[in-house]
């Protein structure tokens, strides 16, 4: 009782081969699309490399690139198989390869599913990585004279301007670090000395933010300094002022951006999975139909195509039996050397029995 049997006349077989050839070239394009998607995502992640502490999230674009390339190769092989399928002399050489091809195709589909799942699952790790990276960026903002960190200021400024965000969680993160380098502080001034002595670590802390936090949509020119002091500026109320600076934190902004990117690729990846599965199923039908036709006396006649020769339970039992036989053969072999050739003959019989079921796949 074969699984999902269908009858195929010669004409239907030809149609199936042609349709599958087109479908496999479509799948090649989809593979190229997945590869390009992976490259794009990787480039976007690399651009903001400086504010990310680890590269765990890179597994998503890496997987996409690998799967894209493998998919291009596998579907190109499928198109070659289609081209040769209707020629009885050229088809047999592909038969051996096909079992491996099915395994590869199933693996690719599973990997693509894993990518979709990972892109949601790794959100927490991405946030953690951004939290640490941004914290370091803000801490080293002033170190424009330290080799290796001299571009932190420019990176953070450009990041805040481009993503319209300020600080890690919000703008108050800037109040907790010294972001003005000591080179630009006049240590003879009383005000500077007071501020430095006012905290344990001897840092020059302000309730001010860098210019890159300023929101251009504010109706008033940007207020950067003495933000918590409502009397320092005319007509300014610290608690109710909303438009002066960006209210969003950069961690939130970057996470939203990357999650948006990965979510928008979700539907594309899912449709590629569907296309790959349909190539897989059609290939199976084509293979069984063509093999059935080759076994007939008149190759132009009708043959049957199916997914599995027996139904699911019987196939599973078969596969289990084969696997156990292989295991037993491996176990018996060292024992038979000690026991003698008699048991070796019995083992040979067992392997012959295991080999006799017709090669259904």
């Amino acid at each position: 009782m074969a699984l999902l049997k269908m009858k195929f006349s010669q004409q239907r077989r030809v149609r199936l081969a042609q349709g599958l050839w087109l479908l496999s070239w479509l799948a090649v394009m989809c593979g190229a699309f997945i590869f390009c998607l992976g490259v794009y995502l990787k480039i976007e992640l690399l651009r903001r490399d400086e504010v990310m502490e680890n590269t765990e999230i890179h597994v998503v674009p890496n997987l996409l690139m690998m799967v894209g390339l493998a998919s291009i190769g596998a579907n190109w092989v499928a198109s070659r198989v289609c081209q040769d399928s209707l020629d009885a002399s050229r088809f047999p050489r592909w038969r051996v390869l096909l079992l491996g091809w099915y395994a590869v195709a199933v693996l690719l589909c599973c990997l693509l599913l894993a990518v979709v799942v990972l892109s949601y699952a790794l959100q927490g790790r991405l946030e953690e990585s951004l939290k640490v990276g941004l914290r370091n960026g803000i801490r080293f903002y002033k170190d424009t004279d330290v080799p290796g960190r001299c571009f932190q200021k420019e990176t953070i400024d450009r990041l805040q301007m481009e993503f319209r965000c300020c600080g890690n969680n919000n703008f108050k993160d800037w109040f907790e670090v010294q972001w003005v380098s000591n080179r630009y502080l006049d240590f003879t001034s009383q005000e500077v000395k007071d501020r430095i002595r006012s905290n344990v670590d001897g840092r020059y802390l302000l309730d001010g933010v860098p210019f890159s936090c300023c929101n251009p949509a504010s109706p008033r020119p940007c207020l950067q300094n003495q933000l918590t002091d409502s009397r320092a500026h005319y007509n300014y109320e610290y608690q109710s002022e909303e438009l002066n600076l960006y209210s969003r934190g950069c961690r939130q902004a970057l996470t939203d951006y990357y999650m948006g990117l990965m979510n928008s690729t979700g539907p594309g990846v899912l449709s590629v999975i569907l296309i790959q599965l349909s190539v897989l199923l059609s290939m199976r039908y084509l293979q069984t139909a063509v093999e059935g036709a080759m076994a007939l006396e008149s190759p132009e006649g009708e043959s049957e195509g199916y997914i599995l020769e027996k139904d699911v339970k019987a196939t599973y039992a078969d596969v289990k039996a084969k696997a156990l036989d292989l295991l037993k053969f491996a176990q018996v072999d060292p024992a038979s050397e000690a026991a003698g050739p008699e048991e070796g003959e019995k083992a040979d019989e067992a392997t012959e029995k295991a080999a006799t079921p017709p090669p259904a796949s």
Partner: protein
């Protein structure tokens, strides 16, 4: 003596038709590119129309869109002509359309030439519009409560950030206007009152610039206020300070952006002109080669193709005499008509 004549056998005619078909489809693709460039340029002009006083001329992008569409249509038709030319039946049906089509293509080439000239000349107009527009934008920067101008501040800030520029010619343009609205000035404060009284028009002028002039690449946090006062900041000399704010003026920055776009469009148009000329020449060769076949029933026969039936000077002389006789024919008829009228 035909001008630039060539001999064609069947194989050469077929090759010419095929090559010409591909050239025509290349010209269709170039037409699509021109169309999209026109739309892109139009969108770019619209995006920044606020700093150009909404006064900018959309002549070049509109013409470019028109030229793109015309090019697609004309060249697709030309491709179809080539495709049908080797079939004698279809060719004889299309023969009457060839001459007007080639004249149309020559007219289209003239339009392309005009557009190339416009591309290079309109850059002056863009420059002047930008100068005027930016001057007004800086003046109206503070008017965030005036309807119609409330987004000027945001537009100008975003422009200065995006193009990495400050002011019209340079940052000193900000010293000459009041860019802080009166709503945020404490008029009871003595400092404010002094500043307002210190100039004739009663404007609150400062030697400061908005935050969007700041250069993120500066090693020190941005100095926006008291720019010309060295003692206001520690370790600061306004004459030698280069990285603090952007040095370039926005007029220069935005103009070089638009100038780049217009120059590349001009270069593409010149390429299109050459392509079109090649197409017309090829079509002329093909049509004359097919027309001068000695034996129309035998496709294998040899024929001759040329660009002009007589030599270049003779064709010119012919054309001139035709124009003259066209004018004279009217005059002679009038003269003859009057004796008849007088006789009857």
């Amino acid at each position: 003596m035909p001008f630039l004549s060539l001999k064609f056998n069947l194989q050469k005619r077929v090759k010419l038709a095929q090559g010409l078909w591909m050239l025509y489809w290349l010209a269709v693709i170039v037409g699509i590119i021109l169309f999209s460039l026109g739309i892109f340029f139009k969108i770019e002009l619209r995006k920044r129309s606020e700093i150009m006083d909404n006064n900018e001329s959309h002549l070049v992008p509109n013409l470019l869109i028109l030229v793109g569409m015309l090019s697609c249509g004309l060249n697709a038709f030309g491709g179809k002509l080539c495709h049908d030319s080797l079939d004698p039946q279809k060719f004889s049906k299309m023969k009457p359309m060839l001459r007007p089509y080639m004249l149309l293509c020559c007219g289209f080439n003239a339009l392309l030439l005009l557009l190339v000239l416009l591309c290079f000349l309109m850059q002056f107009a863009v420059y002047l519009t930008l100068a005027e527009g930016l001057k007004n934008a800086i003046r109206f920067y503070k008017d965030t409560d005036t309807p119609g101008r409330c987004f000027m501040k945001r537009t100008l800030d975003m422009t200065q950030i995006e193009f990495r520029c400050c002011g019209n010619n340079n940052f000193r343009d900000w010293f000459e206007v009041q860019w802080i609205s009166n709503r945020y000035l404490d008029m009871s404060n003595d400092v404010v009152k002094d500043r307002v009284l210190s100039n004739v028009e009663g404007k609150y002028l400062m030697d400061s610039v908005p935050f969007s002039c700041c250069n993120p690449g500066s090693p020190r946090p941005c100095i926006q206020h008291h720019l010309t006062n060295n003692s206001a900041h520690y370790d600061y000399d306004h004459r030698t300070e280069e990285l603090n704010i952007w040095n370039r003026g926005c007029r220069q920055a935005v103009f070089s952006y638009y100038s780049g776009i217009m120059n590349s469009i001009g270069a593409l148009l010149i390429f299109t002109m050459v392509l079109e000329a090649g197409d017309v020449a090829g079509l002329k060769y093909l049509s004359t080669a097919l027309e001068t076949m000695a034996d129309p029933e035998n496709p294998e026969c040899e024929s001759e193709g040329w660009l002009l039936e007589k030599g270049f000077k003779e064709t010119l002389a012919d054309l001139l005499s035709k124009v003259k006789t066209f004018g004279r024919a009217n005059q002679v008829e009038e003269g003859r008509a009057s004796p008849d009228v007088a006789a009857t």
